[in-house]
């Protein structure tokens, strides 16, 4: 039976809490002073402490620290006056599990105590994954032991010393810039400059100026000469991130630079020679863009001296524990939470089941949030963000909905859009599609399914924004260029109503 210790100088409150907890099958003991409470905790067997913040002669905040010194795994619920939010906040910052305001609401008390005891139970299980020990230089490192990542490491090793352009392909958040940095650091140019520029982050005219510079008076507002990145980076390496979002006119200039290592500043006549190694990266399908004439074939050919493909995290789940260890260590240090020991088995399972659409970047962010939320040494599911906790694990709900024998007709469509509007009505249709492709012995099923889902997603979001591509880009969290690219690729009609031609039905 779990045991709660109530430390409060108000005997009526101790009695009230005792009555409520004992009626719920929780053992209790009482202490009217901090000293008595600390003595009781030292004897062992206490699973939870309800601690009055204002004890005679002692601050509950100091007592909180002393309890943590005895056993960090004991959740401490602070009991505070209704007007003392500052103390409650400070207590939470110091690692209290939660707080309860006086006068005590018995239903709230019970719910809070049950949650705290569940947390205690989870924290009592041995850690499933411990944080690594890291030194100060290893915060931005490549982590991975999966065959896919070993291929990436080998590729970096092979190409770093060769002075050829590199194209890094991979989804958002996979670490494309880390590849570029690693290549630079292992190249003969490592003592010369390394500059990175995100082509999607700047308007076309600004990007051109940023890369190539401009002369005074070249355009309105050009009140002095500006040296561009290619000139600035002479002898070094330049990383062009999101190169697929580069405007056509800039593509032409970059192509010439790659061919001749020469260029002119905007508005200038002087031809400038430079010696720059270009590493480009994108998550966009450049070959398809070439077919659609939105990306220059000759530029792709030039950039693509060697291509390195970065796998998405969902394709290397075996690396998740390694990444977790690393990010836990980094987060506990940066957030000054040295007492964090690691993840509970339940949390580790949730991390491994989640599909990580935002890849390693998302994983790092979730670890940071979890460490921040954590009030004890073990990160239990309660401290994880909602989207991770609520994700249906592979092999449970999602899988059963797609199992032929499992009444998949009850599965709900992923959007309120009705079948004839969406072109992608429900999981039953997806199941049928997959089954048919299996019979047809498809060799590109992954791409076909992803395309089907993407078609639906883009059409539905554009339907929602009445065809406004900028709004759609904002909702989808991608660049407007990518939306445009998809509208063209999927032949989504934006004339009046968003329409998927091959489904033959209007929407909107």
């Amino acid at each position: 039976m779990p045991h709660a210790l109530i430390v409060d100088d108000d005997r009526s409150l101790r009695y009230l809490i005792t009555q409520v907890l004992q009626s719920a099958g929780i053992e209790t003991s009482e202490a009217s002073t901090a000293e008595e409470g600390l003595r009781r905790i030292s004897e062992g067997g206490v699973d939870l402490v309800l601690l009055d913040i204002q004890l005679p002669r002692r601050s509950g905040l100091d007592v909180l620290g002393e309890i943590q010194g005895i056993d960090r795994r004991i959740p401490i619920v602070i009991v505070t006056s209704d007007n003392d939010s500052n103390t409650a906040i400070e207590a939470m910052q110091r690692g209290a599990y939660d707080y309860l305001t006086k006068p005590v609401d018995t239903a709230q008390l019970l719910s809070l105590v049950e949650n705290a005891l569940a947390a205690r139970e989870l924290m009592s299980v041995p850690v499933a994954l411990e944080a690594a020990e890291i030194d100060g230089s290893s915060e931005r490192v490549f982590i991975g032991q999966s065959p896919q990542m070993l291929q990436v490491f080998k590729a970096i090793g092979r190409v770093a010393a060769q002075d050829v352009p590199i194209l890094v392909l991979g989804e958002s958040g996979t670490g494309k810039e880390l590849v570029a940095q690693a290549i630079y650091q292992h190249s003969s140019r490592q003592t010369n400059p390394y500059l990175a520029i995100n082509c999607a982050a700047l308007p076309d005219s600004l990007l051109e100026s940023e890369l190539f510079g401009h002369e005074k008076g070249a355009f309105t507002g050009a009140d002095k000469r500006r040296i561009g990145k290619f000139e600035q980076c002479h002898g070094g390496t330049i990383f062009l991130d999101e190169v697929g979002d580069m405007a056509h006119v800039v593509q032409g200039k970059v192509l010439r630079l790659l061919q001749e290592q020469r260029f002119e500043r905007i508005g200038g006549n002087e031809t400038i020679s430079t010696n720059v190694r270009v590493i480009a990266a994108t998550n966009r399908p450049l070959e398809e863009m070439v077919e659609q004439k939105t990306f220059r074939a000759d530029l792709l050919f030039r950039l693509n001296g060697v291509t390195i493909h970065l796998p998405p995290l969902r394709e290397r789940v075996g690396d998740i524990p390694l990444l977790l260890r690393h990010f836990l260590a980094v987060s506990k240090r940066s957030m000054n939470k040295p007492h964090i020991e690691g993840l509970s088995p339940e949390s580790l399972e949730l991390f491994q089941n989640y599909p990580w659409p935002g890849n390693v970047r998302e994983l790092r962010s979730v670890v940071q949030q979890s460490v921040l939320n954590s009030t004890g040494p073990i990160i239990i599911p309660e401290f994880l963000p909602q989207e991770i906790r609520s994700y249906a694990p592979r092999g449970s709900t999602a899988k059963s909905e797609l199992t032929p024998s499992n009444g998949a007709a009850s599965a709900q469509p992923p959007s309120p859009a009705p079948r004839e509007e969406s072109g992608f009505p429900n999981l039953e249709d997806l199941r049928e599609f997959i089954e048919r492709k299996l019979v047809e012995k498809s060799t590109s099923l992954s791409a076909e399914v992803i395309e089907k889902v993407e078609r639906y997603l883009f059409a539905r979001v554009l339907q929602y924004t009445n065809g406004n591509q900028s709004q759609a880009a904002e909702i989808l969290g991608i660049t407007r260029g990518k939306v445009k690219d998809r509208v063209e690729a999927f032949q989504i009609s934006l004339q009046r109503n968003v329409r998927l031609p091959d489904e033959g039905a209007s929407a909107g």
Partner: protein, 127 residues
């Protein structure tokens, strides 16, 4: 710094509020009248002593006044006894800034409101 005339004005309105609000007080105990009766027993045993402690601190131990007011407020909070809670809260928060005149006003008001609270509790216990 609290102005005496403002304090007088504030205290005047206390008697307009009910001594106890049983509705919210009972709701917090999940509607358990039995538990509420038990809590009133604690009040009857401890309340008068805690009130006298406040009085004694006003007279002789100002340094302990804030803590004494806090304890009395805690016991009364269970009954949602707003008037007593407001006076004790004022004393607790401003104990080291109150003048003798202000403390006399507060002490008088506290005794009156405490009396109203005792009456309300007695009525409740009678059913």
């Amino acid at each position: 710094m609290l102005r005496t005339e403002n304090l007088e004005e504030e205290l005047k309105h206390l008697s307009e509020s009910p001594a106890v609000e049983w509705g919210p007080a009972l709701a917090r105990l999940s509607g358990s009248r039995e538990l509420m009766i038990q809590m009133t027993e604690f009040f009857l045993e401890d309340g008068q002593r805690l009130l006298q402690q406040v009085g004694s601190c006003i007279a002789n131990h100002r340094e302990k006044l804030s803590a004494a007011a806090h304890s009395l407020r805690g016991v009364c909070a269970t009954f949602e006894a707003r008037p007593v809670m407001e006076v004790t809260h004022l004393i607790e928060r401003q104990a080291d800034q109150l003048t003798d005149e202000q403390l006399t006003l507060l002490w008088t008001s506290l005794q009156v409101e405490f009396g109203r609270l005792c009456d309300a509790i007695a009525d409740y216990r009678r059913g």
